[in-house]
Symmetry: C2
Subunit: 180 residues, 2 copies
C-alpha cells in the first residue's frame, strides 16, 4: 500500500485525538500495518485548535509528523482556515458541513458531509460525532476495513458504549459511501 | 528548561496513552511550554506492549520520537524488559513495584513504588492507576506544576470523575515525594 498520511483537526472536546488513536490501532493491531499517531502542542493548541496526525504504512514509519497529508479532516472553521493549505495536491479534504464553510481554493477533493447534524438528529448523541467521522472516512477511502475499526473500538470502549458507537460508524459509512 | 523526553510503557488498558496526553496537555496548555506526544505501533504493539512518548520543552520540538528518555515509566514486566535498556544514562526509571521486578543493571536512578497496590487499597479504583503514576512523577521531578496537571485533568474529564482522579494524583505525589 501507499503510505497514508492523515491530519485530523478540530477543537478540544470533539474527540479528534481519540479518533486518531482508534484509527491507528485499527491499522496496527487488526490489519498488521505500521502506524504512528502524534499530537504536537504549540501556541495554536492554546488558541483552542486541536490537531492529531496519523501515518499508516506497510513499512516502518521513521518520521511521525505529517507535513502534507493525503487526507485532511476539518471539524471546525478555525481548523479549516489553519490547515486547509497543507493538504497534499490531489488529496482528500473531509469537512463537517455544519461547522465548516469550505472555499475550494486548494487542489484537493473536497467532501463536505452533514456528519454532526445526522449524529444529533438520528442518534441524539453528539459524543459519537468522532466515530461517525471515522465511518465517513472509511466510506470514502479504503484506509482500513470496517471490521478492523470495529475491533479497535471494542478494545478501547466499555461494552455498554459499543452499540451507539457502532451506529455512529455505520451512519458515517453511509454518508461517506453516498459521496463517493 | 532542559528538554525532557519521557517514555511511558505498560500494557493496553493501563491508561498509558491517556497519562501521556494529560501530561503533554498540562505542559502545553497550562505551563506555556511546547509538547509533543506520540504512539508508534509496530509488531510489539500486537504483542500487547503499549508505549507512549512525550517531549516537553521551552523550544519547538522538531522530532517527536524519543530515542533515549530522561524518564522511563514501566508499568509491566514486559515493558521493563523491553525498554529499560533505552534510558538515557543518569535518567530516572519509575516502575510499579507490584508489576515489575527491576534488575538495576542500567545506569539510571531506579524508583520502584507501590502505586498500583496503594490505588487499589486506598481508593479501590484501579482505573485511576495512571493518574497516581503521574502524581508520583510530579513528586519525583519538577516536570510541570501540580496545578497544571489538575487543570489538564479538568479539561479532559467529566466533573463526576474529578474527585477520585484528584485523590489518585495526591496519592502518587505522596509516594513520589517520600522517595525523593
Amino acid at each position: 500500500m501507499e503510505t497514508k498520511r492523515l491530519v485530523f483537526s478540530g477543537s478540544g472536546g470533539q474527540g479528534v485525538i481519540t479518533a486518531a488513536i482508534i484509527l491507528a490501532e485499527a491499522a496496527a493491531l487488526f490489519e498488521g500495518l505500521e502506524a504512528v499517531q502524534s499530537q504536537s502542542y504549540g501556541p495554536e493548541a492554546r488558541g483552542g485548535a486541536t490537531r492529531s496526525d496519523v501515518i499508516i504504512s506497510n513499512r516502518p514509519v521513521h518520521y511521525p509528523k505529517v507535513g502534507e497529508p493525503n487526507i485532511l479532516v476539518c471539524l471546525t472553521q478555525e481548523a479549516y482556515n489553519r490547515y486547509s493549505g497543507i493538504i497534499r495536491p490531489g488529496g482528500l479534504l473531509l469537512a463537517d458541513s455544519r461547522h465548516v464553510q469550505t472555499r475550494r481554493n486548494v487542489d484537493a477533493r473536497h467532501v463536505s458531509l452533514p456528519m454532526y447534524k445526522e449524529v444529533v438528529n438520528r442518534l441524539a448523541q453528539p459524543v459519537v460525532f468522532n466515530i461517525c467521522v471515522l465511518g465517513a472516512l472509511l466510506g470514502l477511502t479504503e484506509l482500513v476495513h470496517v471490521a478492523a475499526l470495529m475491533s479497535s473500538l471494542e478494545k478501547r470502549l466499555p461494552p455498554r458504549l459499543l452499540p451507539v458507537n457502532r451506529q455512529a460508524l455505520e451512519l458515517g459509512l453511509e454518508l461517506g459511501k453516498a459521496a463517493v
